[in-house]
Each structure stands twice: as C-alpha cells, then as structure tokens.
Symmetry: C2
Subunit: 308 residues, 2 copies
C-alpha cells in the first residue's frame, strides 16, 4: 500500500519541495535567516477521535493539534508530513474524504504537504503529522520565562472540547452541536505576534490546570488560578460542568504569561487578531504548584496542587 | 501519558534544539547554505515488526527505515522526531529498552532527538519517525534521472530481510540467525558521496522488482534485470527462494542508476565506504516496464512486468 495510496490521493496536496511525493524524501530550502520550529503529534481512533468522526474532520484535527504546537511557539507554519496507518479494507472514499479535509486546512493555514507514509494496521486508524514552521531568530515563545507577578492569560474559551467529547458520547446535551464541533475541529491560535509581550507560552491540550502547572514549573514558579475567571462559552456554561472544563483537555487554546506592563499590548494584539483573551490568575514564587480558588468540589485539592 | 513518558524516558536523547522536550516544539537553526531533506515513515506491530521483537531493536528499526530514505537522497542525517502509540498497560521496561535502542543508533548515525509525542492506543504498537538531514544545494539524488543505457546497481545483498521474516515465523531455517537479524536491523546505506556519479537512486523497501519499476518509471524508461546477477548472501542462497528475495521487501539497500562512464567511480566510492555493489541490469527506452530474465517460475511474467 505504502506509496501508491499516498501518491494517488495526496499528490495534488504536495508542495513543490515534496517532489510530487515521488521520491524517498522531500528536499527543502529553509527560509533564509529564520529558525525552524518543528513538532510531531499522533492521534489514534478511539483515543483522540471517535470511530464515526468524518474523515475530513479527522484530517483537519490531525493538522490542527500539530499547528497548535507551532502557535504556542509563535511560529508561522510552512509545511507538514503525514503517516497514515489504516485497516487493509479501508475504502477509497475514506482516503478521498481525508485528502479533501487536508486540502481545506492547507488553504486555511497556508501550508503544504512534504511527504509521508501510508501503511496498513490490524488495529484502529493511527495517524501522525510533523509540522514545520519558522520564527525570527531567538523570537520563539517558550514555556520557561514567566516571572513572579506575571499574569496568567488564556485565549478563547476553555472546556468546549472536553464537553463536546461527552456530548458526542451522549453523556451531555449539545442542542446546537457547538461543543461537538469544538471537539472535532480545534482552532490553533496562530497569527499572534507576542514576542516581547508574552514572557511564556504553551498550548492547552491536556487540561487547563495540568498544563498551567507545566507552565509554572518550567518557569520555576507557582501559580494561583481563579476558576471563576476561566472563560466559558455560553454552551459550556449551560452544561454546568466546570470540573470537566478545568481538567478535560482538547482545548488547543494558548496559555500565556505576561507582566502587568505588557497587558495593554497583549490585549491590543489579541484584539487585532480578533481573539478574546482573559486573565485567570498570576504567577508567584515558591514551588507549591497550582493553587486553584473558586474551583468546584469535584476538582478538590488534589488536582489543585497536582503535577509538581 | 503524552509528554510525561516522553520526557522521563527520552529527555537524555534530546538535542539542545529539542529544548529538553519541555516545550511544545523544537527550535532549530538549519545548517547554513544546505538544503534540508525530510521524510516520515511509520511501522506497526504485526505488520513491520513482530510482537516479540525486542523493543530496542524495534526502536532501531524505526530509525533505520527512516534513515534509509535519507541515504537514498544522498543526505547526511541530523535529527529526528518520534511518535509512539502503545497500549496503556505498557511497562516502564518497554520504554527503557526502546530508549536504549534509540541511544545506540543515535551514536551510530550521529543524530539526536528533536521531539515527539507518546499516546495510548487500544491496538498494536504504532510508531512513526520523521528524520531530517541535509545536502549541498541541488545535490540530492533523485529517482528521476536515469538515462537509456545506464546500468542498474544494487548495494549489499537482496532478500535477507524477507527471508528473515519467514525464518522468525518458523517457515524457513536460519541456523545462525543471520537472516532474522537482517529483518530486525536494516542497514541504511548512508555515507556514500554519489552526486555526479549516480544518475538516479532510491532505497529498496517494497521488493527489488517493484522498486526497480518505480525507478524506471520515474525516469521515463524501461528496465531489464538479470535475476541471476542479483547479489544474495550465503544464508539467502541456502534458502533457495529467489522468488522471495526478488519480491519480498525489507531490504533497505540502495538501487542506483549510473552511466557506463561512471562505473569505475561508483565502484571506488562504494569500495571506500566498505560496501559491496553489483550491476544487475540496465535501463532502456520504452514504457514496457521491468523485464526480468533468469527469474524463477514463481515470479512469472506478471511480476516481471508489473507496476507500469
């Protein structure tokens, strides 16, 4: 299967540097005077997406969870590679729909395919992507860099993806389908120019409290989060499951640290990009971890202070 | 599981550019004045390796099948990224052995880890790697480029991997374990300087005859292969399964096209690298495909002329 499938379905997606997917590898001239930013993420059927999720949305989710890592570094995306492991009986229609999803997001994010691999698997569909972007030298955003007193900010709304997964499983109501859509189609927060404004950044993929803990630890600090300030969509608010919103994951929003002196610049830059941003806490000295106030009982102290 | 596993087991393998695997992506300054060569390949338990293959050898096979793609392009390897999807109950020992295998081949091939992802899967172990290498501008070897009259050459010996798989399944004798070892541990043919000598190149992963067909087609030519000239190891010869050797795959040798005027240079360069190389046929005009003479009956005309 290997290269036949890939070439037949995906050749039209290839960058010139992908050599029409006809060679053993892509050859690629890096943009002059820029650093490259590169990340790989895998998604597995039944773990990161549902067996009946439409293939075009699965393809777009694969790209978007990867692009979210570039967004966290402040990078501009350029290219990607794919590996696709599917059951031998996978129908041509699946590949066609998957490729159509890739085409939509290639256009949306200005990226093109460099290469990859298609194999069979006796198990569930397993996908990986590697995304390549670029930044000006020494301008990548990092997790380490927050300072004592910096505010903790988060883009967009939190919890929609985690609630959407429960909705798709029939465990929560989702009358308009908004939450399910947020689960299936993350919004990588690309396009912000935050070098010199944010002191640290990461994307929220494993749950807000857990990832905030990572950000604090990477900076050698502790963190106080006010759960009452965490931005929720109207649909999420209606579910009344703040516990899931704070810990559920699948957000693909950005967590940012910024000193008070840069708060206006941060708000302006997010405004320019049409992106809401909310201050939900602040960094402080010490190694106690993440203290969460106004959290629901279900979170408890354990999660509030975990991961240190 | 995601990043905890990766960081705990793999941080010591990370390049400086991998930021200790603690950020969302790696930041990497491409070597000045070089083109980057990049490729992704996936391997799946039960398809590309056996459930009881030792984890350190699985890790090395993953790297080596990817490095073989760089070898085919004439590139020097630099870095890699990994995605690892394993059952939730996978023991720490598995990760430790897997990481130990990576460490051995990082040293052997002069590469280091940039990043990646660890996820759980309800299915078999699914692995992918992306390898990054570099070449001088416009010096990458390509599949298209062979000319009418060029010789077809192959490095090393053919069929050991395919026979080794049968041996590990108990279908063929392999008293010294040589064939099994060749299946488990490909030898990517890196380190040759073939720009200006070879007119086309690719690696043999899907079977000699099939891949030779790809090389001919990419160059707009046909090919005549003398099966009697295909180099076999003593262990492969003992199996007397030339049909499997010609079509079995898992060779990870290089297929090269070279004009007669460069045959001495080609032999010298392979000699310098301590690598055997054998002429097994020649390219010719037309679009008839691959004609194989002296092939065993089991191959038949079908395979001899397939894939065009």
């Amino acid at each position: 299967m290997r290269e036949f499938e890939l070439i037949r379905h995906f050749a039209s997606l290839a960058a010139a540097e992908g050599l029409n997917l006809l060679d053993d590898a892509a050859v690629f001239t890096p943009p002059l005077g820029r650093e490259l930013v590169i990340s790989s993420d895998a998604i597995v059927q039944g773990v990161h997406f549902l067996p009946d999720d439409p293939p075009d949305l699965v393809a777009r989710k694969l790209l978007r969870v990867n692009l979210s890592d570039l967004a966290a570094m402040g990078a501009t995306p350029l290219h990607y590679l794919l590996t696709i492991s599917v059951p031998p009986a996978t129908h041509d229609d699946w590949f066609a729909a998957f490729a159509a999803g890739l085409a939509v997001d290639q256009a949306a994010f200005g990226i093109s395919l460099l290469g990859g691999d298609t194999t069979s698997t006796p198990g569930p569909i397993s996908l990986s992507a590697t995304v390549i972007g670029h930044v000006a030298p020494s301008c990548a955003l990092r997790r380490a860099g927050a300072r004592d007193g910096d505010g903790l900010w988060v883009t967009g709304t939190i919890g929609d993806g985690a609630l959407g997964l429960r909705a798709l499983r029939g465990d929560l109501p989702d009358p308009g389908g908004y939450l399910a859509d947020r689960y299936r189609l993350p919004r990588p927060r690309l396009g912000l120019s935050l070098h010199g404004i944010a002191s640290a950044a990461m994307d929220v993929s494993d749950g807000l409290l857990q990832d905030a803990g990572h950000l604090a630890r990477a900076s050698g600090l502790s963190l106080r989060i006010d759960a009452a300030l965490v931005p929720l969509s109207p649909d999420a608010r209606r579910c009344a499951r703040l516990d899931l919103c704070l810990t559920g994951g699948d957000d693909y929003e950005l967590l940012l640290a910024a000193p008070q002196s840069h708060e206006i610049a941060l708000s302006r830059e997010c405004d320019r990009a049409g992106l809401a941003i909310t201050k939900i806490g602040y960094f402080r000295g010490g190694s106690e971890g993440v203290e969460t106030v106004n959290a629901p009982e279900a979170i408890g102290t354990a999660a509030g202070w975990s991961h240190f």
